[in-house]
């Protein structure tokens, strides 16, 4: 019984790993192919099956004038917009969440839960509903087709995630912890950054991860709110797809698109796997 269980467990893990890793292997292999190797017959292994070439990768850095699609600038645009928006969302979202978790607000019929729901409701609507207001808003203040405009829009999209996760996290941190800090001579700001914040790192990591992921993979708003001046990576990758699907450069761009997320995943992996998330505070 024990052995059967072990066998089934590892079989499942191996199958799952293959399921996850196979597309990556396919993409890596394809990114080194050319038109000939993709369209002739089924090939997998470089040098044996086909002659590897860097053409797929070169297209990504060549200027359009020379028949390439320069994704270097969109790549850094995407990095800038995602990181800036995530950082601002986390900072503002954490402060808002702490206030919502610890203080009681009353304004007419509005209470803390209503405010929290207001944040979350931003994400309940389908994005297309927000697109026209965003477009009009950005064009009115003259930030259409600009990095700053995108950062503003992404903060609106990401901050609800940060608030949502952090409110839930702070609600599980005993109020007595803050009170003890106050009694021990901290003013409310010191109590927040000397005691509450250091004990909230797991929550901050999760919130940060979600913000980065949702920011990085957004195509819709990046597509609608930019034209020529500024382009983000997801839009540029789609633009690669012309009359003939260039599988080689698509694979290459897909790989470098997911690279930042994989790096983030490896960095936070030790926090996630050790069970540190729930164990830090009882």
């Amino acid at each position: 019984m024990e052995k059967l269980y072990k066998f089934l467990k590892y079989t499942f893990i191996i199958l799952w790993t293959v399921f996850i890793v196979a597309p990556f292997l396919w993409a890596i292999s394809t990114s080194f192919k050319d038109f000939q190797s993709v369209n002739s017959k089924v090939t997998y292994i470089p040098w044996l099956d086909f002659e590897p070439t860097l053409e797929g990768w070169r297209v990504l850095v060549k200027s359009p004038a020379r028949g390439g699609v320069d994704i270097v600038e969109p790549y850094f645009n995407s990095l800038f917009v995602t990181c800036t928006a995530s950082l601002i969302s986390i900072v503002l979202g954490t402060l808002a969440a702490y206030a919502l978790s610890r203080f009681t607000f009353k304004a007419g019929f509005v209470r803390n839960n209503d405010i929290t729901f207001f944040f979350i409701s931003q994400r309940i609507m389908p994005p297309i509903v927000l697109s026209i207001p965003f477009f009009i808003f950005l064009s009115t203040i003259g930030l259409l087709d600009s990095l700053i405009g995108l950062v503003v829009v992404y903060i609106v999209l990401l901050m609800p995630i940060a608030v949502w996760i952090m409110v839930d996290f702070f609600n599980r941190v005993p109020k007595e912890l803050d009170e003890t800090a106050l009694i021990d001579g901290c003013n409310p700001y010191q109590a927040f950054y000397k005691v509450v914040l250091p004990n909230s790192i797991p929550g901050l990591i999760v919130a940060g991860m979600f913000c980065i992921i949702f920011g990085w993979i957004d195509f819709f708003f990046a597509f609608i709110l930019t034209f020529t001046e500024v382009q983000l990576l997801p839009v540029k990758v789609v633009a690669l797809n012309s009359s003939i699907t260039p599988w080689w450069s698509l694979s290459a761009s897909a790989l470098i698109s997911v690279a930042p997320l994989i790096i983030v995943a490896f960095i936070v992996e030790r926090y996630l796997s050790k069970g540190n998330l729930s164990g830090a505070l009882k």
Binding site: P174, A181, I183, D184, G185, N187, G279
Partner: protein
């Protein structure tokens, strides 16, 4: 120079958490707040700490209006019933946290921490993480943190309630030692608890709190001997004092068809209806006694608690040995009439075995 509260009322919703509470706490003394769960003990302590602001009333300490001083400048220390420490810091860092906030010199901090660790018996645990400690040890760290601070007001909010029986006994003993030796003459110590035994052992000045109202105050001995009302008698005894509705008729007391001799300390009472009170420990098994039916028998430690019933009356008897009883079994018990209390129809004490000093 004392901690003085005048008519403090706190009523955040429709219920009173504190109802017209006044007190005058002197330095170098131990005060215990005795009350059931939700009686307002924590609110009381939090008000003194400054975590809550009363709706009305005054609070002053050393002739300063305490209500105007924010928590972080009040120099109080508080130990919660939940073991609250800073989880991201180790034991040593936890204890120096309040000292660092107050910018005390490094040498002094080192001395104070060593002393506090010694007092609570945690020398050698400096580098442990809080999560690695047992509940009792965590509570010791919290206590050490408040001791090292040398605060002028030390608040302990049911510090033993979340510990298991054995540890509670052990820590209670240590608390007594720490409170008598380890505290300076400058400190006001306020200790809240639901446990009458703790109050008696700590032997301080007692304030009995119920529904936010002070029912009685006085030395522990006085509360034990002369509980002013029925309510106080219930709160300050564990198991609660047995109450039997009955009548006095010249030399006889009668309740539930039981007639016993009226004790000598009742001789000045007029003949009328009373609530007679008797402690569980003053009811003994006796073959000459009255027959009661056993509803429940609990064994705790080396004692047996018998929940007995006769007619409408229910009493709890404390037998000082471990005995096995069957439920619904009949036993004969005798009341020690010399330890009877009498409360009038307004539930106020009119006669006690120790002589009434008020009322």
């Amino acid at each position: 120079m004392n901690l003085i509260g005048e008519n403090i009322t706190y009523k955040p919703d429709d219920q009173f958490h504190l109802n017209d509470v006044s007190f005058n706490f002197k330095k170098g003394n131990l005060y215990t707040i005795l009350g059931r769960t939700l009686s307002g003990k924590t609110t009381f302590l939090k008000t003194i700490a400054g975590l809550l602001n009363p709706d009305s009333g005054n609070l002053s300490f050393e002739d300063n209006d305490f209500i105007k001083i924010p928590v972080w400048e009040r120099n109080v220390a508080m130990v919660y019933q939940q073991f609250i420490n800073y989880p991201h810091l180790n034991v040593y860092e936890n204890i120096i946290f309040p000292l660092k906030q107050r910018k005390i010199s490094e040498d002094q901090i080192k001395k104070d921490v060593e002393e506090a660790l010694k007092t609570v018996g945690l020398v050698g645990f400096e580098n442990r993480k809080i999560q690695e400690l047992s509940g009792g040890q965590q509570q010791r760290v919290a206590l050490a943190r408040s001791l090292a601070k040398k605060a002028k007001i030390l608040l302990l909010d049911e510090p033993l309630v979340n510990l298991d029986y054995k540890l509670r006994e052990q820590l209670r003993e240590e608390f007594k030692r720490i409170f008598t030796q380890g505290l300076s003459e400058d400190t006001i110590l306020i200790y809240s608890t639901t446990d009458p035994q703790e109050v008696m052992e700590l032997n301080g000045e007692v304030i009995v709190l119920d529904e936010g109202k002070v029912l009685q105050r006085g030395p522990a001995k006085e509360i034990f001997e002369n509980p002013r009302t029925l309510k106080v008698a219930e709160i300050s005894n564990d198991p609660p004092m047995n109450i039997l509705k009955g009548e006095k008729n010249s030399e006889k007391l009668s309740f539930e068809n039981i007639i016993i001799k009226s004790p000598s300390h009742f001789k000045n009472l007029s003949d009328q209806s009373y609530n007679f009170g008797i402690r569980a420990s003053e009811i003994k098994l006796d073959n000459q006694g009255e027959e009661f039916e056993i509803e429940l028998a609990e064994i705790s430690g080396s004692e047996t608690l018998l929940h007995l019933k006769k007619g409408e009356s229910k009493v709890i008897a404390l037998i000082e040995e471990v005995m096995n009883f069957k439920i619904h079994e009949k036993v004969k018990i005798k009341f020690n009439e010399n330890k009877l209390y009498a409360f009038d129809q307004n539930e106020e004490l009119v006669s006690s075995p120790y002589g009434v000093s008020h009322g």
